[in-house]
Symmetry: C2
Subunit: 149 residues, 2 copies
Amino acid sequence: MRAGQLAQPYPTVSVDDDALSSARLMATQRAPGLIVCDAQGRPCAVLPGSQVLNFLLPRYIQDDPVLARTFAEQAADDLRSRLVHHTVRELLPPRPDASDLPIVDCDATTIEVAALMARLRSPLVAVVDQDKVIGAITISAILMHFLTP
Amino acid sequence: MRAGQLAQPYPTVSVDDDALSSARLMATQRAPGLIVCDAQGRPCAVLPGSQVLNFLLPRYIQDDPVLARTFAEQAADDLRSRLVHHTVRELLPPRPDASDLPIVDCDATTIEVAALMARLRSPLVAVVDQDKVIGAITISAILMHFLTP
């Protein structure tokens, strides 16, 4: 079994796409993250949901549970506005090394996929064929593959 | 809106449950992780899928992509056997500080939930009422809450 055979269709966005619609796509698709492609359509990152929250929430709220507790619920509207007029590129964490990207070739073995997920603690990996994304493998899918007889 | 209102039913396991069946539960439920409760039924950890892979795969395979590539696919059966006769307790990473657990009280605000997810990079938080788990909030649910008008 190769990565290409386990890959399932998965939402992708471009680095230049609107941040708010991309975050909404993640929410409505119940996706643990989105595959992000560069302007040439090559995958260049996986944007996890926690990184969107990281962008939405001011740093002082993340660092101090007491402040988070007292932050008025009504301010949620203000949070949403933090995504307006931004692109996906601005949500991404600093560019990691290529070896730290959860991206595999469609010829990768399932062991390679699992090893990458374990090392990067990633809930999904993008699968590419000739630099184009053909889908993704979630951690549920790889566990199903290994754990069902 | 409080955490208790956003919480959805979510699979829990006990630290003493069988590791293989718990990992299979995670796979079949397509859950990004499982809430783990202690012998008294109180939540004590969230077990992410990547940690199960971390336990399944020998360290030398995780650290070396070339070895991962050459590791025979047939050896997947041997991997499965690594979970037999183990408990969930043995899969858990070293016990973190209480403040590093993705667990909130049902009275927590949604801002508190989001701040905890962002800080811990956790795809879900367990919601408790009087030390009992009443469900979980996924990152999709919290994004839906903040991003839909």
